[in-house]
Every structure is written in structure tokens, then in C-alpha cells.
Amino acid sequence: MAEKTIAGATVNVNAEGYFENPAQWTKDMAIEMAKDYNITLTDKHFALLDFLRQKHLGGEQLSIRKVGTSGIVDVKEFYQLFPGGPLKISSKLAGIPKPMSCV
């Protein structure tokens, strides 16, 4: 476990930069981390981050398909909001663990 300072606060992250403890997350941290991906977070981004956090805290496994049925975005919009790897990037910005791909 490593420590990292994001938006002025120290948080615990793993080797890939995913939060170890989602309770340490704040919106300001998401805004700062998003800069690494050249993403400016909008209300829609935050609605998705909330959705991901709620599902994670509820013990559900996340998938791109599940986000596509969230009612917030469809899959294509999800890719447009987080280009490159939407679920991986959004999970990191939402302060939750890296999504586990089914094995």
C-alpha cells in the first residue's frame, strides 16, 4: 500500500493508483486526478462517479454493460466521457478499486 497526496489530502492507493479506501475520496480529488487524463469533469461525469460508488458500496461487480444500463449514459457516451478505458479510468476517479474482470 502506498500513500499519495491528492488535492491536498493524503490517501492510500495501490500500485496502480486505485484507492484502497473509498471513504477517503472527495470530489476535489476526482477533479485533480482527471487532469492526468485531460478530462474536465462535468455534472454528467459526477453523476456516473456517484453511480459507480453506490454500486461498489452495495457490493456489486461493475461492467461497461452495467454502466450502459444506468440511465445516465449509453456505452458510446461512456467512452466519450472517459476516452481510452472508460471503466478503468472512471473507477480510479471514483475512488473505488480497479474493476475485476471476470476470470
Binding site: 461487480q61 461492467s63 461497461i64 454493460r65 452495467k66 444500463t69 456505452v75 458510446k76 461512456f78 467512452y79 476516452p83 481510452g84 478505458g85 478503468k88 475485476m100 474482470s101 471476470c102 476470470v103
Partner: protein, 397 residues
Amino acid sequence: MANKLRKALGKAEWNITIVDKEDTHYYQPGFLFIPFGNYTKKDVVKPIDKYLPSGITLIKKDIQKIDPVSNIVTLADATSLTYDILIIASGTQIKPDETLGLKDVLWQKDIFDFYTLEGALALHKCFESWKGGKLVMAITEIPFKCPIAPIEFVCLADAFFTKKGIRNNVEITLVTPLPGAFTKPIATQMLSGVLSSKNINIIPDFYIEHIDNENKKLVSYDEKEVPFDVLTIVPVNKGADFIGASGLGDELNFIPVNKQTLQHEQYKNIFAIGDAAALPSSKAGSVAHFEADVLFENILSAIKTETLEAKFDGHSNCYIETGFGKATLIDFNYETEPLPGNFPIPGIGPFKLLKTTWINHLGKLFFRWLYWNILLKARPLPVSNHMSMAGKKTDRL
């Protein structure tokens, strides 16, 4: 499960009924070998009745719906059954309709699956006369049944076209929504090496949005494209339709159950086993086999209204064909990723984990006999349902 439970439960107290829409039991791992002519239809098909013990009622009908509150199963013909305990083992099915352009003009002409007998036979026919071009093996969605099958498929295709003398004319590419060949780091590294040594390309992080039939291209959600001449595809996998209709499933109709006890979280007399369950484990035959030992114990505990003590650890064990008479082997669970070493006897083997050997290949071929003669009849195997760390090398961690 039926074979195990019939022996353990008194016939006067317990009726056991199996509802199955199929007349036939398929040896599904054998479908992979059909496109390359190693197996034919007769190797993978047997009547289902042959494998059931006496004292069991078999109803060959589809299911319409389950009412988990009233404990009623409604069959396709609107007749119904009541239950005290329900085990759902309805597996996973392919749903080509879920991907735009998949079940279109090229379906079973230049686009095939090998998860159905029909698909595997059609692909065999195609390969017999194919002169070469771009062969793409693509995965549409996760989870899917037998996550190593696409890797085996491209390896077997490499060997098949090499033996045919046209490998130089065949470009083989594996397209996957995963970040690499497999999901676990050490196995991915090993398998990526195998694929690259065979001149097989991998395109990771590719999530298919639609298939362009006119221009013969895969198109991703982020508008990347992969052209193909022949496409072999793993369509979206979903659980049985009746699970969705009964409100018992997740967004893919797989049933969320406790990952250790296999019991439904809300309806305590419902259990799920195998591919039907939404678990963070592989959808693979070995997983269902190891789960069966745990579920058997837990069903007996549930009947006695005791605490469910048996815990499934996510154990999975898969032989991976790598072509030219060799195979590799992986053994892992929820917590431990596939590691190198020997299996099942530490230091000896005879099987080697994460190495390609001919003896692993023999293990894979022998498995078909084992399946029909030992596993389906619930005879014991000398392999624990819990994964063992003995024989595994952890110094690479």
C-alpha cells in the same frame, strides 16, 4: 448433483426432479476441436437419460418462470411444480442478437461461433475449403463460458493451417475487451508469450459496438476497426431467459448467490451452481465440478436447518491446448492467481502448471473419458475441491 443427492436422501422423504429442455447431453469442451476435424458430432453427444440414476424424475421441458415466494416452477406448457429446495443449473447461452450486425447476412457464412454444435460444424465446413486471409477470433462481452477457449482456438488454428501448408496466407488475430490475453497477470504474461511465438496478434481493450457486414469489419465503441475475412466470435453470454423473467438475475440473467455457500441471498431455499451463478470465478466445467461437492454438503445442512459450513473457494482448473500436441495447465481460485509448479502431486506432477508439455495435452484428451465415465456419474476424483498451494511456486510473486 442428482447422482450425489439420490444416494444421500431417502426416497420416502425426498422426490428429486430434474427439468431440462434438452434431450441430449453435450460434452461442451469438445466443441473446440470440431472446427479442426479432431472431433466429430458423435464424440460430444449422448442421450441425457443414460447418466441419471434410478429414482429421479426427468421432465424434458423448458421453464417459463420461477415464483421464489410461493416456491413454484412454471414450465413452458403452463404446468407447474412446487419445491422445497431449488438448485438452478441452467448455465449460460450465447445471444448473437445482442450485438448489432452479428446475426446478419454473414452469420454462419463468414462469421461463426464454436459454442454451439451447429456453429462448430459450420466452421469446420468453412475451414475445409478456406484458402486463407484474415482470421479474427473476437470476444464481445465478459463474462463468457470457458475464458481460455479463444486462446486455445487461435493456437489450434495456427497448428491446423500450418499442417495444411497455408499458414503463411493466414493472419490470425485475437480481439478481446480484456486488457490482455487473460485476466490474471502471470498467466497473461505466459500466454501472451505463447501467442507471440506463434505469430498470433492480440488486440486488447476492444469492446465491439457493431459488425459491419458490408465491409467485413469489427467496429468498437471508441470507433476503432478490425477487418476480417473469417470471424469466429464469442457472442454475448447470458443466463437462461426464465431467470430474467423471474427477476432472479443480474443484467445478464446470472443469479447472484453467496460466493462461498452458493445460496441465494434473499431466498434461502434457492441455490445456483455452474455458469448460471454470478460469481467472480470462471464459467468453466471444473468450477461446477468443485462447486458440486460444496453444494452437496450445504444442501444436506439446509435440509437439517443447520448452518452452511461448506465454503467454495473459487477453485478452477483448466487445461489449455496450445497446438502441435501440447497443452498448458492453470489452477487457481478467488484469491490466488494461476502460478507455475506441478499438479496434482507437488514436485512430481505429472502435469506442469503454466508450461506447455505433451503430457498436459494427454490430460486434456483423457478428460473426455473422465467426463463421461467418472464426473457425470459423481464418482470421486483424486483432486480436492479446494485449491492447494502445494506444488505451486510463489517466488515469482
